[in-house]
């Protein structure tokens, strides 16, 4: 092989080696970047999972409480009637002057059926406070979504209360796998 041919061959091999090295470096960097991203995802998942497992007892106890204590949903009318009865009885007990409640459209969320009412009433401020306390007991699963209290200028000490509330029901198909 002549020196010029050898030089050409060496140059060709050198270019090949350099090219292969460059491609390898790029591939390695790409791989490294992907691994870093995956590592970040795994780390985040580990932290989340660890945090969840640390609070396992707390959340599973709450779940069990909800599974066992939340009222079962039977029918739409039954649910509405139950809620209305609770509201009217409580208002009557606290001597609130309540207008006819307005039934809200029922909703289904991933966690419950919601049967709701919108109501307006008047009464003394302490009576309204007691009404709210009686109405929203943990065992009743009633959420007050909106509440407004307005003082009645002509009647000192009395307030007008407007509430939008829902009661949560659990249907059989919403039970968790463990409960099933």
């Amino acid at each position: 092989m002549k020196p010029s041919e050898r030089r050409l061959a060496l140059t060709f091999v050198g270019v090949l080696v350099l090219g292969a090295t460059w491609v390898s470096v790029l591939k390695l960097r790409q791989w490294s970047r992907k691994l870093d991203e995956k590592a970040l995802q795994v780390e985040r998942a580990e932290v989340e999972q660890e945090a969840l497992l640390e609070e396992k007892d707390f959340w599973l106890e709450r779940q069990e409480f909800l599974e066992t204590r939340m009222p079962r949903y039977a029918q739409r009318l039954t649910a509405e009637r139950e809620l209305r009865t609770i509201v009217e009885n409580t208002a009557r007990r606290e001597a609130l002057d309540m207008k006819q409640p307005q039934i809200l459209e029922q909703r289904t969320t991933p966690f419950s059926h919601e049967s709701g009412l919108a109501l307006e009433g008047t009464g003394s401020f302490p009576a309204v406070g007691r009404f709210l306390i009686s109405l929203q007991q943990p065992s009743e699963f009633i959420s007050i979504r909106e509440m407004s209290l307005v003082a009645i200028p002509d009647s000192p000490g009395n307030v007008k209360v407007n509430l939008s509330l829902v009661r949560h029901y659990r249907s059989p198909d919403m039970e968790t796998p463990e409960a099933r």
Partner: protein, 395 residues
């Protein structure tokens, strides 16, 4: 350089009778033709320090104008015992810059004068042919040529006999004993009768001329430094190229090693990551169940968690108000917003509310505009608190 012989056949490239020939399977020595060298003899008196022989040879060659043509090629010499206790110094000087055409020395690194690779019996002179030239070699008794010279004659005739006689007579004058026998390489053309009669004549040297089989090249002990300058230059150039190649190869190997190490580390990292993911999957179902429980609990929290009840919010609002001198006129609560307004007896009381709400409802972003002073000196205030992600001001 020693001219003693190892009795070992030499694998070499040597100048054959007419052309270069290869001796042995794997040639490792180049036997350079005798015409590239000049052999010179001179005697020094007995008692001279032998350690000075090298310097004496050097001075003698310089005096005769036979100094080596390049310093690296150098010369070699051998000392023989002469008559009357004197010593005969035989020196070999390289007189060429390159090997003759046709000698392919690529890859070979050892160079020796061909004459020193031939066996010359004690008390004998030998004639052999190299690339068409006749070469005469004479021994002082060590089995190798102590002196060699290319003959000017192209055939072994009477004239050649005369030339040989002259050479041997001059060697005798320099202290080298005249040989008794002249050996002709068996493949040489038959010497002419004039040649033989000239040398065997009792008025001449009285040599016995006979044909002897060629014993083949032998390995001389030690290595000569008689290497042509151009061959040295080419070797250096090759060496430089090889150094460069070695450097490049080393860099490439280093690069490959770094890449391989990097790949290995990344592979280990990927494997560790897979192991961590597998470990995550072990508790994945339980974690999903807990997450579902958490979501459900969060969604329904305001229906069973007393701290989230409307009355609790109302209590917190009431606790922002000063004990006296304030009238709450209106309050509204919805999931993202708490708003209340009223009147106080003066601005200071209203400002107190503005301070309290941020302490009691730290989770809300509050808007509390400067209280408006009414005609009767009382101050009207309004406070709007929004949860993160909610927008809006006072309605």
């Amino acid at each position: 350089m020693s001219t003693k012989f190892e009795m070992q056949q030499l694998d070499c490239i040597l100048p054959g009778e007419e052309e270069w020939t290869t001796h042995g399977r794997k040639p490792r020595v180049v036997c350079l033709p005798s015409k590239l060298f000049r052999c010179h003899l001179f005697s020094v008196p007995g008692g001279t320090d032998e350690a000075l022989d090298g310097q004496l040879v050097s001075l003698e060659l310089e005096r005769l104008g036979l100094a080596p043509r390049h310093p690296q090629g150098g010369f070699s010499f051998e000392a023989y015992r002469g008559e009357n206790g004197s010593r005969v110094l035989s020196s070999v000087i390289l007189q060429a810059d390159d090997v003759p055409e046709g000698c392919h020395v690529e890859g070979l690194s050892r160079f020796e004068p061909h004459a020193l690779c031939r066996h010359v019996p004690k008390g004998a002179a030998v004639i052999w042919r190299e690339l068409g030239d006749f070469v005469l070699g004479a021994s002082a008794g060590s089995g190798a040529a102590s002196y060699f010279q290319v003959l000017s004659s192209r055939q072994l005739d009477e004239e050649a006999g005369e030339e040989i006689e002259m050479i041997l007579r001059s060697l005798e004058m320099k202290g080298l004993p005249v040989p008794r026998t002249l050996l002709l390489s068996h493949s040489d053309p038959e010497a002419s009768s004039g040649f033989v009669s000239r040398l065997e004549s009792r008025f001449g040297l009285g040599l016995q001329v006979r044909i002897s089989p060629d014993p083949g090249p032998r390995t001389p002990l030690g290595e000569s430094s008689l290497v042509p300058a151009n061959v040295l230059a080419r070797k250096e150039e090759r060496s430089r190229q090889h150094s460069m190649l070695r450097l490049v190869a080393m860099i490439v190997a280093l690069g490959v090693a770094v890449l391989a190490l990097n790949s290995f580390l990344l592979f280990r990292k990927a494997k560790a990551l897979e192991d961590r993911r597998a470990a995550l999957l072990v508790d994945a179902d339980l974690a999903a169940q807990i997450a579902a429980a958490q979501s459900q609990s969060d969604a329904l929290e305001d229906s069973f968690e007393p701290e989230q009840f409307a009355i609790a919010t109302l209590n917190r609002v009431m606790s922002t108000l000063p004990p006296s001198g304030v009238t709450l006129k209106e309050m509204s609560v919805d999931p993202g917003r708490v708003e209340f307004s009223g009147e106080t007896v003066n601005v200071d009381r209203a400002s107190e509310i503005g301070v309290n709400i941020k302490r009691i409802f730290p989770e809300l972003a509050w808007t509390f505009p400067p209280p408006r002073i009414l005609d009767n000196g009382r101050a009207e205030f309004i406070a709007v608190g929004l949860r993160a992600g909610e927008e809006g001001g006072a309605r």
